[in-house]
């Protein structure tokens, strides 16, 4: 039992920090402070820089561009990225789709798709949810009917995260109407430039764009784009979702949020003193920091346990992590006082629902905070709603 970072870990951290310090373009770091809805071009630029060092997709198998790091090293890397306000990177391609590809796809498919993800040239979407099937994926209805060497895909996907950035989509479709709900599902790769696809942005509570709806109207997809076995899509999806949950603890991000909030609380005043000295604020911040420390250790326990236990710890840290992300964002809004109540659109952002032409009196350290707090309502819903996670914990860990 050595529950602390080793000397090697510490040296690794120093190396990562030095690299970021030298190579992160200042305009990226500046926009990174607004944290939120990063531009595709920023993500791609940074991915290219990291790819040059072999660090753009560290978790990949080394053969496909991975860095061969331990779980703890990947955690440290992520922590340093967040700490330096590097752009939050696209997650769908590298973290969700790619592991499915290098685990289940054919070698041709791997060669065709993984390099684009590694270099940041290709962005991906994931097409799982449909209207009427949120956390209940087995009920999905988008159909793919075999027609010669193609599938003809018809249906609708929704909640497609960052779909407006995506070139390709990894889809769950129903290929067998007769089979039991879960058995008739297959995984298809679809080029989003294919004829018959339309996209509708779904504006969210923050007046921002994260999710989209895609309509597939007789879209022709080469049968070669089938991933793995026909009818096995359900198991790939489960594999993917487990990764989603583990990552969704988002500890490095929350730690950075805390550091940012501490900065804010030293600037903002209450009763003529820095907010940081207000007892009630201090207590609540301390409690968030303590819960974050607990969550961090839980994640590190999972990362070092060696087993990809797929479910139990993942569900557990997802629940707690998502709730923490809401609490920290809400406390940040509160820290801003009157200024936390203003709608303040990211001055360097793209994709606005509408231009109100107003310039709210929000200081630079407050930009994006309120919108972020609004959007964080989604953290307890996406990636498998927390209700689903609690049921999963009860069934799989507690065996109730």
């Amino acid at each position: 039992m050595t529950p602390y970072f080793s000397a090697e870990d510490t040296a690794f951290r120093a190396e990562v920090r030095a690299f970021i310090q030298t190579n992160l373009p200042p305009d990226l770091a500046r926009r990174g402070r607004y944290d939120y809805h990063p531009r595709r071009e920023d993500q791609a630029r940074w991915a290219k820089i990291l790819a040059g060092k072999g660090w753009s997709v560290p978790h990949f198998p080394v053969a496909y561009g991975g860095a061969g790091w331990t779980g703890v090293q990947r955690f440290i890397f992520e922590e340093e990225m967040r700490r330096a306000y590097a752009p939050t990177m696209d997650r769908i391609g590298p973290e969700l789709v790619a592991p499915v590809l290098y685990t289940f796809a054919s070698e041709e498919q791997r060669q065709a798709y993984l390099p684009g993800i590694q270099t940041g040239d290709t962005f991906w979407a994931q097409g799982f949810s449909e209207p009427g099937s949120g956390s209940d994926l087995a009920s999905l209805r988008t159909r793919a009917v075999r027609d010669g060497d193609d599938y003809i895909v018809t249906g609708q996907k929704t909640w497609t995260t960052e779909g407006h950035h995506a070139d390709m989509i990894f889809m769950l479709v129903r290929t067998d109407m007769e089979a039991k709900p879960q058995a008739g599902i297959s995984a298809l790769i679809i080029d989003l430039k294919s004829p018959g696809i339309t996209r509708r942005p779904i504006w969210t509570i923050d007046e921002g764009l994260t999710v989209n709806e895609f309509f597939f109207d007789d879209v022709r997809v080469p049968a070669a784009n089938l991933v793995g076995q026909e009818g096995a899509g359900w198991s790939y999806a489960k594999f993917l979702l487990t990764n989603e949950r583990t990552n969704s603890a988002e500890v490095p991000h929350t730690k950075r949020d805390i550091a940012q909030l501490r900065d804010i609380a030293r600037i903002e005043q209450k009763n003529g003193r820095p907010l940081m000295e207000d007892p009630s604020f201090r207590n609540r911040l301390a409690r968030i920091e303590i819960d974050t420390m607990a969550l961090e250790t839980a994640v590190l326990r999972a990362l070092t346990s060696g087993s990809h236990d797929g479910g139990s710890i993942a569900s557990l840290v997802k629940v707690r992590g998502s709730e923490l992300r809401q609490r920290i964002a809400d406390l940040a809004v509160e820290a801003l006082g009157d200024r936390g109540l203003a709608i303040c659109l990211n001055p360097e952002g793209e994709h606005r629902m509408f231009e109100d032409g107003l310039t709210p009196p929000v200081p630079d350290h407050g930009i994006g905070i309120a919108a972020k707090a609004m959007f964080r309502r989604a953290t307890t819903i996406y990636g498998g709603a927390n209700e689903i996670q609690r049921t999963l914990i009860a069934k799989t860990v507690l065996e109730l």
Binding site: V333, D356, P360, M374, R377, E387
Partner: protein, 370 residues
Amino acid sequence: MDFTYTSEQDALRDSVRRFVEREYDWEERFRIIRSDCGFAPHHWAMFAELGWLGAGLSEEAGGFGGGAIENALIAEELGRALVTEPFVPHVIATQLLAALDSEAAADLIASLIVGETIIAPALQEAAGRGDWRHVETVADADRLTGVKTLVEGAARAGSFLVSARNGDGVGLYLVAASAKGVSRTDYRTLDNRRVADLILDGAEAVLLASGAPALTAIDHAMDHGLIALCGEALGAMDAALWATRDYLRVRKQFGTAISNFQALQHRMADMLIEVEMTRSLLYAALGAMAGDDAQARTAAVAAAKVQLSTGGLQVGAQAIQLHGGIGVTEELNISHFYRKLYGISRQFGDVDLHLARFAQARDQAPRRGG
């Protein structure tokens, strides 16, 4: 002791409810939010015509004989429909003027309740974090300098009611929107109220009251404003609760209506409890307003504000959570209930401020019933 509305009050509620049903659909609301001043002058004229702008004001003060109950009731129905017209600031302005009990004030009230003019209260500053008793704006004779925040309805206001430090401590001033040295920075709040920072740079002002009478009038007006705000929050909470209830009954997952899931049922029960506790504290505050114990009034109003803040956030957040993904979309009203309740929870001071006000008032007040 009677908690039922009179038939006149029921009729007033029906009148507001009919208005929002007929005139204030979801598309109309989006149009108004995106308009120049963020609210609709033709609606305001209708409010005046239907008598709502004077309904909560005593006859001596020039109103139609009602009080806090009528204001709370109107605000509740407006909250239900997330109406963005600045009704709460109107309550504060009229009650503030009424408390001054002067001829000049009576003239202003008369023009306010017929909707001829809008006077926006500008009582808070950034450093006060919602606490209207924090005043740094300075009055040098009849010239004011300072910045007032979150001034609602400012874009259409003919004048402002401004608090400022003077030789007596704090004075209450009337500042014309057109006066020299007055400028604005307009913005939207999270709950889509259109507000402004009011920047006063030696702005010409008329003193309405000074010292203790000014402070008393402001506290009185803020009590009324907080009660109207409580009504608005209650309306939004109640509407969010029942909209969620309806959604759970139709939404199916895993082959069954999700209303059958016990964990969600219990969550809904907790939301209902929060709504009913908020309603109860609104009534308690209305009861205290009818009495003459100032500390009991402060305590009851602060209690209602604490409850609507925490209960409102809980109900709003759970309404989203129980809706799932669709709850965070801009197009559905559920996300806007949350934004409204999030805004209200911090408006006029956060939970800590009102807990402290409550505790202080309780220390000084005799125990209820002895």
